[in-house]
């Protein structure tokens, strides 16, 4: 089992990896916002933004091809959400139909927005892949906690990260036990057995949760977890912030110059 998919490039040494998680989270957000607020069709600005993300990926020593492959995952989602855009002219709300292709009525403006959303989503997912491949999950949680993300969310994510691997192992063991008895999970007639397995897994996690709670209680948990922050903003964070902020500002204000 590949437990380390999430963490494949987390241990590389680069300027980007050394940045404080807060810096990375904030700049990823800023980048996504800049992308989202780009006027459709502003090719120059989109190109500049692509250049920014690609140069940061190269700085982080993460293979471009890896980021590209992983970013493909976003396309089905965008397709489903944006698939009807070409059939309406959303921008002016008039539903004015301008094109006829293979007997379908398409709107030029809708198509235009569709392509734009596709590119914007792609840029945004690349920023997220970059963030998650340069920041280990525990550090990301610490950063989010310091950025005042509600504590309960942080704890849910933390437990999920800790136990998802345990759960995957359990599921694999169950699967192996099933295979040993020549049972095919592809057979629809046996859906009842699959349902039982899922139920079993659920009960296992429930019981594990109970024991984890006992462990927490025996270590002084009283309903409120206290955490420790061990992060410090370093010089490299300030340099990175100034540079990227300048670049993003320049890109944003380009058209006014």
């Amino acid at each position: 089992m590949d437990h380390h998919l999430l963490e494949k490039y987390n241990t590389l040494e680069s300027t980007i990896h050394k940045l404080d998680p807060r810096t990375k989270i904030l700049f990823s957000l800023l980048y996504v916002l800049t992308v989202v607020f780009t006027v459709p069709g502003d090719i120059v600005k989109l190109g500049a933004l692509l250049l920014v993300i690609v140069s940061v990926i190269i700085m982080a020593k993460i293979p471009l091809i890896y980021v590209f492959k992983r970013s493909l995952v976003i396309f089905p989602f965008v397709f489903i959400i944006a698939m009807f855009l070409p059939f309406f002219s959303v921008a002016d709300g008039s539903g004015f139909i301008e094109l006829k292709v293979l007997g379908l009525n398409l709107s030029r403006k809708g198509l235009y927005i569709f392509w734009n959303s596709l590119f914007k989503a792609w840029f945004a997912i690349m920023a997220m892949i970059l963030l998650s491949s340069t920041t280990s999950f525990p550090l990301m949680l610490k950063g989010l906690a310091l950025l005042k993300v509600p504590f309960i969310l942080i704890m849910i994510l933390s437990f999920m990260y800790r136990y998802i691997f345990v759960l995957i192992d359990k599921a694999q063991k169950l699967n192996r036990a099933v295979k040993l008895r020549h049972f095919s999970l592809n057979n629809f007639k046996q859906i009842k057995i699959i349902a039982n397995m899922i139920g079993l897994l659920f009960i296992m996690t429930y019981e594990k949760g109970e024991r984890i709670y006992q462990s927490m209680v025996s270590r002084g948990f009283e309903g409120n977890i206290k955490l420790m922050d061990r992060l410090k903003i370093k010089a490299v964070d300030i340099v990175f912030s100034v540079v990227v902020l300048t670049v993003l500002l320049f890109i944003n204000l380009w058209s006014f110059l």
């Binding site: 437990h3 525990p138 437990f159 990260y161 800790r162 927490m216 025996s218 270590r219 002084g220 977890i225």
Partner: protein
């Protein structure tokens, strides 16, 4: 560290039933002196784990318990939990934070220790269990033996008077088992060790308590208990 002069653990007529009414512990009484290592042996389902969970007050049956000189009641619960370090059988149940550092720091943080002190504690307990430098390791990347050691480090973090182990050697390979026994023997806290690894109990304990169906069936020195074949057989231990 100063301990009160009485016994580390005093249990008198402890009775506990599961929510479904099944009796798990029936009139259990015994004492553990300070510095003593006590083994609790019994077959599967004899009530060992249930008994251990009473020591830090996670389960609360009827009867009188005095742990580290504190009467078991809600007022003393915090002090009792500071005084008892519990090592679970399954380290995945005990290590619930993403990194080793956060796991060990959990208890000291909840009990309000200062950050500088916590760094020292983490460093010190990791050295004690022979895992220096493991602070930033991720829990799911550790081997089973390492997880067991981290679990002991976690229990040591509050410098507890009493250490409680639930089947410490289960699932370990012979080498890791031997090393763990050496580690346990090297800790000079009062220890309560439950298990059915008889060799390990023989090697580490100064007193052995046999439990069967929630009752104390016998109590004595390891030599007395392990030479009594009839006793072991009636309690399903051989």
């Amino acid at each position: 560290m100063e301990f009160p002069l009485n016994d580390a653990i005093e249990i008198e007529k402890l009775t506990y039933s599961y929510p479904d009414g099944r009796v798990a512990l029936d009139n259990v009484s015994f004492n553990v002196s300070r510095g003593e290592t006590v083994g609790i042996i019994g077959s599967n389902g004899a009530g060992k784990t249930t008994l251990l969970l009473h020591l830090p007050g996670i389960l609360q049956g009827s009867g009188n318990l005095k742990i580290a000189g504190y009467e078991m009641n809600s007022k003393n619960l915090k002090n009792i939990r500071k005084a008892v370090g519990l090592v679970f059988q399954e380290p995945d149940d005990q290590l619930f934070m993403p990194t080793v550092f956060d796991d060990i720091a959990f208890a000291p943080l909840q009990f309000g220790r200062e950050p500088e002190e916590i760094h020292k504690i983490v460093h010190e307990v990791l050295r004690k269990v022979g895992l220096s430098g493991f602070e930033e390791r991720l829990a799911h990347h550790l081997s089973f033996g390492e997880k067991k050691r981290v679990a002991i480090a976690v229990a040591l973090a509050m410098n507890p008077e009493i250490l409680v182990f639930d089947e410490p050697t289960s699932n370990l390979d012979p080498h890791a088992r031997k090393e763990l026994i050496v580690l346990i023997k090297g800790l000079n806290n009062t220890k309560v060790i439950a298990g059915h690894d008889m060799e390990m109990i023989k090697e580490t304990c100064t007193k052995v308590i046999v439990v069967n169906k929630g009752k104390v069936a016998a109590e004595g020195t390891p030599a007395e208990i392990f030479s009594n074949k009839v006793l072991l057989e009636t309690n399903m231990l051989i």
